[in-house]
Amino acid sequence: MKRKKPIRVLLAKPGLDGHDVGAKIVARALLEAGCEVIYTGLRKTPEQIARSTCDEDVDVLGLSILSGSHIPICQTLKPLLEKLGLGDILWIVGGNIPKGDRDALATLGVDAVFPVGTPTQSIVGFIHEKLS
């Protein structure tokens, strides 16, 4: 079944990490693949991200984190998303994520982790597969 509306993705940079090369690359790859992309820019709080996810009515929430603080950030974000009824949104996380942390992120409700080095097409493919 083909979707009528394009997939909407919110790409967010939570925490204080200023490395945005990866987030912008993923944003461009998703735009090229026909998605609508809202990129938040740097240093968004979990509250701001949860609010934008709701207000922008997106199908996918993507976080890019390279500072190593992905677990505390996702821990804070999870209840905020749930409170807004977004507990089952397609939630992906990319960046500098050690393998050992992936189970912990999955437990928090993250649907997929795309560490540094992931081909952009894997991310595009994953989103399309999940939402088609």
């Binding site: 925490g15 204080l16 990490d17 200023g18 490395h19 945005d20 090369v21 912008k24 690359i25 944003a27 461009r28 790859a29 735009l31 992309v37 990129y39 938040t40 820019g41 740097l42 240093r43 709080t45 500072s67 190593g68 603080s69 677990i71 505390p72 950030i73 804070t76 500098n96 050690p98 393998k99 050992g100 560490p115 540094v116 080095g117 081909p119 952009t120 097409q121």
Partner: protein
């Protein structure tokens, strides 16, 4: 081009877009601008190096990036590196410190001590540098948004320990304009951010003339997607923006130009990098002589730190990064750098472990002790290829600078997000080429090994959760013990100075001596200057 040899070889271009010939001759040097500018080391235009005898007299300074957790832990790592032969320090601060937050700020949650050391007050600075002779070991502070505060703390700490700051050496990164392009630790809007950098330059020119208050970074612009020519061009444009700002405030060019330094990136084609540095050194000297009419030859020196290039490292087969790091160090030595900070092989994963930091240090020491890199100056000089490429790179850097000027200058371009947009587009195009196999990267799109437990080959630097609690406890203790009235009046002065456009540095130094915190001082400056509103463009 009748004298050119005809071949059916496919054309080759370097990353800066220059076509590379299969064979170079003396004719190429002449056709690309002549051999006139090669000159001698230590003499204008310094193509071959800023000193006459370069490493023969003294090898480059070895300054590995280090810092994590609490000041105590960082002090231990500093001692370890110095014991292993390191000759300078390059301090990593955690993100809360870099964006002006105290460790107990809710926005700092999960980030305290993670990518660098946490600093809240002068007390932390005192601990971090305990036992280190600041005359022998020069310290570089990798901080930008909150640089004025950290410079003030460093000076206060040095004075407290009896050093005369008029003779104190050291460097602060303090290049805020590039933070808007890459790295992202901005706090204030663009104009007041430049004014703050100006404050530090003016203060140092008067009170700490041997200190280098700014290290202009091409590095992070390159890491964000710029090619080597753009890296140099944008860095030079940014350096000129700072120079023009302080000239307007009445400083004489020769009173501070010799204290400006640069931080550049190394990854990619070896010869392109070497030519980039030789060309950059020559062009910078010409700009400072011709455009700014400097009289002191030292004002024309391009002093630099180079050796890193995290963007060249790979998460795949991480041991290959040890080899890449060794080539980057070689390039850096062949390019006549003053200081090396080599990227460690685990950089694609984490902040350097003790082992990774030691390997980087040994890599440089092997070049110095075994490979003969210090025996003679600029050993690639006279190479048909390198000299031709140096001439071509100089022309291209100049051309990109002219483009930036023609479009309204670098400050406008950054404030509007144009540079950011251009380099991020290039980063994407480069990645697509990599994914299509048009650019080859060993272990990534060729010579891959089947997914093994690669990560387990990298020993992770352990993050101690309790470091944050320790840091917050000390902050609370310091806050409780300080003289409240003294802090309040010092903060009021900083706020007034900032609002009235005076130099904030003298008041800042008094405030840190009263143990005002990074967060308190940043809030004063935000009250006066406002906050940066990032132009988000894709």
């Amino acid at each position: 081009m009748s004298h050119e040899q005809k071949t059916d070889l496919p054309p080759v271009f370097n990353e800066s877009g220059i076509e590379i010939k299969p064979v170079y001759t003396s004719g190429d040097i002449e056709n690309s601008g002549g051999p006139d500018d090669i000159g001698s080391p230590g003499k204008f235009p310094f193509t071959r190096g800023i000193h006459t005898h370069m490493y023969r007299k003294r090898p480059w300074t070895m300054r590995q990036y280090a810092g994590f957790g609490t000041p105590e832990e960082t002090n231990e790592r500093f001692a370890y590196l110095i014991a292993n032969g390191q000759t300078g320090l390059n301090v990593a601060f955690d993100l809360p410190t870099q964006v002006g937050l105290d460790s107990d700020d809710p926005a700092a949650r999960g980030e305290v001590g993670r990518v660098g050391m946490a600093v809240d007050t002068l007390r932390d600075c005192e601990i971090a540098f305990q036992g280190i002779d600041l005359d022998k070991i020069t310290v570089s502070l990798t901080v930008n948004g909150s640089a004025a505060i950290l410079i003030a703390m460093y000076f206060a700490m040095a004075e407290e320990r009896g050093y005369d700051i008029t003779r104190l050496r050291g460097t602060a990164q303090n290049d805020i304009l590039k933070e808007f392009v890459g790295r992202g630790t901005w706090i204030f809007p663009v104009e007041p951010s430049i004014k703050l950098v100006g404050d530090t330059i003016l203060f140092c020119a008067e009170h700490a003339p041997l200190y280098s208050p700014v290290s202009v970074c091409g590095y992070h612009i390159r890491e964000s997607g710029a090619n080597p020519v753009q890296e140099m061009a944008y860095a030079f444009c940014i350096a000129r923006a700072y120079i023009d700002h302080v000239l307007k405030r009445g400083l004489d060019i020769d009173d501070f130009a010799s204290r400006l330094s640069f931080n550049f990136d190394i990854h990619g084609n070896l010869f392109e990098q070497v030519a980039k540095f030789r060309a950059g050194r020559r062009l910078w000297a010409k700009i400072l002589k011709e455009e700014y009419r400097t009289e002191n030859p030292r004002s024309r020196w391009l002093r630099m730190i180079a050796g890193g290039g995290g963007g060249g490292l790979t998460v795949e087969q991480p041991e290959n990064n040890i080899v890449r790091g060794a080539y980057y160090a070689l390039i850096s030595a062949l390019s006549g750098t003053q200081t090396m900070a080599l990227c460690s092989y685990d950089e694609a994963y984490t902040i350097p472990s003790e082992k990774a930091a030691r390997i980087s240090l040994r890599t440089m020491q092997i070049l110095i002790e075994e490979m003969g890199l210090c025996d003679t100056v600029d050993p690639l000089a006279g190479s048909y290829y390198v000299e031709t490429l140096t001439n071509q790179m100089e022309d291209r850097i100049r051309a990109v600078m002219a483009e930036v000027d023609a479009e309204g200058g670098i400050v406008e371009a950054i404030a509007q997000g144009r540079i950011q947009n251009a380099v991020s587009k290039q980063a994407y195009e480069k990645l697509r080429k990599l994914e299509r196999g048009e650019i080859r990267k060993v272990g990534v799109n060729c010579y891959r090994v089947e997914e093994r437990e690669e990560e387990q080959q990298v020993e992770f630097h352990p993050f101690k959760e309790e470091a944050c609690a320790d840091q917050i406890r000390r902050l609370e203790r310091t806050r409780a013990e300080r003289d409240k009235a003294e802090v309040e009046s010092a903060l009021a002065r900083v706020l007034a100075d900032a609002k009235d456009g005076r130099n904030v540095m003298p008041g800042m130094i008094d405030a840190v001596k009263a143990y005002a915190t990074v967060g308190e001082l940043t809030r004063c400056l935000v009250e006066a200057y406002g906050r940066y509103d990032e132009p988000v463009r894709l």
